[in-house]
């Protein structure tokens, strides 16, 4: 789907996985270095498996969409799956090109996910 396609689909509504889940075991705050926006990520971790993910906060559509797509991809997966995942794959996951000025928006949620490995 294109950027505009996603915007037209979700308009001003919440994206999948947007919101604070009932249960979580880890909370990670991620702030964009370029604009100061920040999202809070909530992970429910059990035996190294990401059982549930949620996020909220103030971010642009691109950062929220990236967060939502990452959440969809990694829900139910082992944290170890993140080892092979990188920035380039995050940009590919989005499915449409973004200009360099906005790559930071897309990559901000990835940083929260990769922090799970620390």
């Amino acid at each position: 789907m294109t950027y505009q396609g996603y915007l037209e689909k979700y308009k001003l509504g919440k994206l999948p996985f947007e919101g604070v889940p009932f249960q979580y075991t880890k909370k990670i705050k991620q702030v964009s270095e370029s604009c100061g926006d920040g999202l809070m990520f909530y992970f429910l971790l059990e035996d190294g498996i990401i059982k549930n993910i949620g996020f909220d906060g103030y971010g642009c559509f691109l950062s929220r969409l990236s967060a939502s797509l990452l959440a969809k991809k990694f829900t139910g997966k082992s944290v170890k799956n993140l080892i092979e995942f990188d920035e380039e794959k995050t940009l590919t996951l989005l499915g449409f090109p973004v200009n360099s000025a906005r790559e930071q928006c897309v990559l901000m949620p990835f940083k929260a996910f990769s922090a799970l490995l620390k």
């Binding site: 505009q4 037209e8 308009k11 001003l12 604009c35 100061g36 642009c60």
Partner: protein, 415 residues
């Protein structure tokens, strides 16, 4: 001047450039002046005893005169810097660190660009000074009456922008000296957003320091102007040291030039200075009366047309606006706050970055974000905003293109 005088518009036919507060486009004559310098007159300044060196010296010092006349200063009071930010940092280092002692106070407004905010914040931390904040009203507008209570016997400086880079209104800087009275308080002015739009006169403002970037007034990047009032020069120590600013260098000591040239260590941006002087001549030739008339008509049109868009919240004041309009796009209609007077909106609006991308896809270049004015955005409780900023080449077609793009955004989000 017309878009035809600016090569960028020939090379980007459909460009709708509304980000002039970030940087303005360059007229052919400025580009030619720099090209001509490199192809005919290039040499370093203040060093060459040969013909080219003398020519470069003459062009460089003539440009200093041009800039001095432009802001009604003396030639010796003009320092060439890299940009407005460097000029303000220079003042904080070279003057602030010499003159401010523990317990002293500095007044800084909340509408400042970070370049006239962080240097003072840093200085205050280092020297244990107290920062006093000149707060605007709830719409972001500063009033002189709110400054008066902040000035005490230990106030050393008042740091203020001449024109808000977000809201586009002119601060009555010329009235500040009345509040200062006879106290020895330095008035430090950031004129970066003023110089492209209004005449700047340091005598009228009665300021001690004034800094601006030349690239926002149709000149090249890499050049700033810092005005230092002659009487303040003896209160300063060198900022950067090196070539061109020392009169005597021994193994354990150095003596420095007693003039403002002491702040131009190293090879300066000579071609930029030559191009910058040409930009001053351009702006002066057109005249600020004509520039203001043209930009005022366009900005009035923008405000008038915004009135019909209930989902767009205009943050800039209409009165006295010089051509910078900040706004954001809301998802819901305005509601009354508990206070009853200020309009507040639900928070699920369109993020300025997303809106700016949609504008960009439609060929409209504008700015989104906090515009390096986070204290103001925090004060206004607006995380980020969109900003249109006009230049002398903008026309009604640009305004039409902007509102057409806004109509598209309205459709996409069913606003």
């Amino acid at each position: 001047m017309h878009k035809n005088d600016f090569p960028i518009f020939k090379n980007n036919k459909d460009l709708v450039y509304l980000d002039n507060a970030a940087t303005a486009q360059k007229p052919r004559v400025v580009i030619d002046a720099m090209n001509n310098f490199y192809t005919h007159d290039n040499a370093n300044v203040h060093r060459g005893f040969y013909g080219l060196g003398e020519k470069a010296d003459a062009l460089y010092e003539d440009a200093r005169k041009t800039f001095a006349k432009f802001i009604n200063a003396q030639q010796e009071e003009i320092v060439f810097t890299k940009n407005a930010t460097e000029g303000l940092n220079l003042v904080a280092h070279a003057w602030g660190r010499t003159q401010c002692k523990e317990g002293d106070e500095i007044v800084v407004s909340l509408i400042e660009h970070h370049s006239n905010f962080i240097p003072w914040q840093l200085l205050a931390k280092e020297r244990k000074l107290t920062l006093r904040f000149w707060k605007p009203d709830r719409f972001g507008v500063l009033h002189i009456k709110d400054l008066e209570g902040l000035i005490i016997s230990r106030t050393k400086a008042i740091c203020i922008t001449y024109v808000s880079n977000v809201l586009g209104y002119v601060v009555p800087v010329e009235k500040i000296k009345e509040s200062i009275g006879k106290k020895n308080i330095a008035l430090i002015v950031d004129a970066a957003q003023a110089v492209p739009h209004i005449p700047v006169d340091v005598q009228h403002l009665q300021c001690d320091f004034l800094s601006f970037s030349v690239h926002k007034m149709y000149g090249p990047t890499g050049l700033g102007i810092l005005y230092i009032k002659e009487s303040r020069l003896c209160e300063m120590k060198p900022f950067m040291v090196g070539g061109g600013m020392a009169t005597e260098v021994g193994l354990t000591h150095a003596k420095y030039l007693p003039s403002s040239h002491v702040f131009e260590a190293g090879t300066p941006p000579i071609a930029e200075v030559v191009g910058g002087a040409e930009a001053v001549r351009c702006v002066t030739r057109i005249g600020f009366d004509a520039i203001q008339k043209h930009e005022h008509a366009l900005v009035e049109e923008i405000f008038r047309r915004f009135e019909t868009y209930s989902f767009a919240r205009v943050l800039s004041p209409r009165e006295g606006n010089i051509g910078v309009v900040a706004f954001d796009i809301q998802g819901v209609h305005p509601v009354r706050s508990r206070e009853g007077s200020q309009r507040v909106f639900a928070s699920n609006g369109i993020h300025p970055h997303d809106a700016a991308s949609l504008f960009a896809e439609r060929g409209v270049a504008l700015r989104a974000g906090h515009h390096c004015a986070m204290p103001l955005h925090t004060f206004l409780k607006v995380p980020a905003s969109l900003r249109i900023s006009l230049g002398l080449y903008n026309d009604e077609k640009d305004i039409d293109a902007f509102f057409e793009a806004l109509n598209d955004i309205k459709k996409i989000f069913s606003l």
